[in-house]
């Protein structure tokens, strides 16, 4: 368990900084909602309803009722999701690769433990921090939304948090898998960041184009879109399955490839 606790100690400061980011985002965003839309936002919503999809995409509000608390929270949460993904990528591609990057792998690997054990401990420590990020988001979101909301939307928030958890897990585990499987593990973060960049651009393209649902399986950001969460109050089981599959692939890359490959020292 030493390795697990060591990793836990290494990363709490980063989580602290990210928490400040979440606090700023949710706090300032919902504060604006209280000021802007709380009274008489209905007219604007009706106006937006008559616009074509591409036009609303420009303002990032496809199918979302911005004047409701849930819709507004959904828009803000999209950016929290992006932050979460970035956090997951940095965490996942760093926690294993840093040993090789900092030339400490040789010290770690001479210890009488199996490579699989090392992987497990590191994966676990990172998972705790992924859940930590979500927990911080939850601790900030529930009370702040309660302050400004006129109706109870805690079910919606719970679903948003679940969606955040699943997507973060996908990015975390796949980044972890890449840093385990690649011969040059330092490339993992750049690969995953490019993936994220293209996912983001893809999500914009999806909003711009009509009939673009076929793109959705490729674009993880859109697995659980805000409008669906708000409409149906469930997470789409197909995409939950797909996320599970991606997580398994990530785990496979790490646990099958890493114990076999040469270390890059």
């Amino acid at each position: 368990m030493n390795l697990f606790f060591h990793e836990m100690k290494m990363y709490w400061k980063y989580l602290l900084f990210w928490s400040i980011g979440i606090l700023f985002m949710v706090g300032a965003g919902m504060g604006k909602y209280a000021g802007m839309y709380a009274e008489g936002g209905q007219d604007i919503t009706k106006l937006f309803d008559s616009f074509p999809k591409a036009f609303l995409a420009m303002f990032g509000m496809v199918n979302i009722d911005v004047s409701s608390v849930g819709g507004f929270y959904g828009i803000i949460h999209f950016y929290v999701l992006i932050m979460g993904i970035v956090y997951a990528i940095i965490l996942g591609s760093g926690i294993l690769a840093k040993e090789e990057r900092d030339h400490t792998a040789e010290f770690l690997m001479v210890k009488p433990v199996a490579k699989g054990w090392i992987l497990g401990q590191k994966l676990l420590a990172g998972l705790v921090y992924v859940f930590g990020f979500v927990a911080v988001d939850a601790l900030i979101s529930y009370p702040i939304v309660k302050q400004v909301a006129d109706q109870d939307i805690s079910n919606e928030i719970t679903l948003f948090l679940l969606a955040l958890t699943v997507i973060m897990l996908v990015f975390y585990v796949v980044s972890f898998g890449f840093s385990g499987a690649l011969n040059d593990p330092r490339k993992s973060s750049m690969i995953m960041l490019s993936v994220m960049g293209f996912t983001y651009l893809g999500s914009i393209a999806m909003d711009l184009l009509e009939n673009s649902d076929w793109m959705r399986p490729l674009i993880t950001l859109k697995y659980f879109p805000a409008d669906q969460i708000l409409d149906s109050l469930t997470l789409d089981p197909i995409y939950l399955g797909l996320s599970g599959l991606l997580i398994l692939i990530g785990l496979g890359m790490a646990f099958i490839r890493f114990p076999r490959r040469d270390l890059h020292l």
């Binding site: 828009i75 992006i82 393209a205 184009l209 009509e210």
Partner: protein, 264 residues
């Protein structure tokens, strides 16, 4: 001159990849325009019935918006963020290369001044960024010409200039960081934190609309709609951008020429 050539050579492959990606993204987004434009005639008519104040409140002029340049200036922000990433990563990578690989003590023992090392590195960065932005401009021009829409060349040049300035500003932030940091392990976390941070700030400008943010976030120095409709760059922010670039590079010189070098 050796350092300059070395840096160009080291970044050649990644620069080509960046140019290709930027070209594809800019070109691809522009090709969305016909689909976007097709339904717009009725919409413009419809919008004319809405109160003027509302449209002004949204900072939105339908006649401007539904032209190819209006559309491009909206999607340009996604190209701009890529350009900003490239600038920042390049700045930090070129200046921080020795810090990262622990080879600064080898470079410093060569008979060149530290200031000329920095000058050559910065020259390499600016050369690469200029070439990239010229290529990007060519791709954009090609994409817009293919759609067959009429557009104002001056407007397109100005919007491209806004993006170029943005990439130079982020490169200067990277240069300053590269000169300052004593330890540099990986570049990605810095790039993500700084560029993504400013980008999210920009995307949420509808929500955080306080005027002081405009001074802080390089993505918001110039409103591209305004640039197109007035056909000019706001001189105050042009001066502010130049000041920022010069100040950051100046400070980098001060730090780089004086800093302690840690041998491994």
């Amino acid at each position: 001159m050796n350092i300059f050539l070395f840096e160009i050579k080291s970044s050649l492959k990644s620069t080509l990849i960046w140019i290709l990606m930027l070209g594809i993204v800019a070109f691809g987004f522009i090709q969305v325009f016909p689909a976007f434009y097709s339904g717009s005639a009725e919409l413009i008519k419809m919008l004319e019935n809405y109160p003027k104040e509302l449209l002004e409140g949204l900072d939105f002029d339908p006649n401007q918006f539904f032209t190819i340049l209006g559309f491009y200036s909206f999607i340009a922000v996604y190209v701009q963020v890529m350009v900003a990433f490239q600038g920042f990563i390049l700045g930090l990578q070129v200046i921080g290369r020795e810090t990262k690989a622990h080879t600064l003590d080898f470079l410093i023992t060569k008979p060149v001044r530290r200031s000329s090392i920095l000058t050559m590195k910065i020259a390499a960065i600016f050369t690469i960024l200029t070439v990239t932005n010229l290529c990007l401009f060519a791709f954009t021009l090609l994409g817009i010409s293919i759609t067959g829409e009429a557009f104002s060349m001056a407007g397109l040049i100005l919007v491209s200039l806004v993006m170029f300035l943005c990439s130079i500003i982020f490169a200067s932030i990277g240069i300053l960081l590269g000169a300052t940091l004593r330890k540099l392990r990986s570049i990605a976390p810095y790039a993500l934190g700084i560029v993504t941070g400013f980008f999210i700030l920009n995307m949420m400008k509808g929500i955080f609309d306080d005027p002081w943010i405009q001074w802080l976030s390089p993505f918001q120095f110039f409103d591209k709609f305004e640039v197109i409709s007035t056909q000019s760059l706001d001189p105050i922010f042009l001066a502010w951008s130049c000041f920022l670039i010069l100040a950051m590079i100046g400070v980098s010189y001060l730090i780089y020429t004086k800093k302690d070098i840690h041998a491994l």
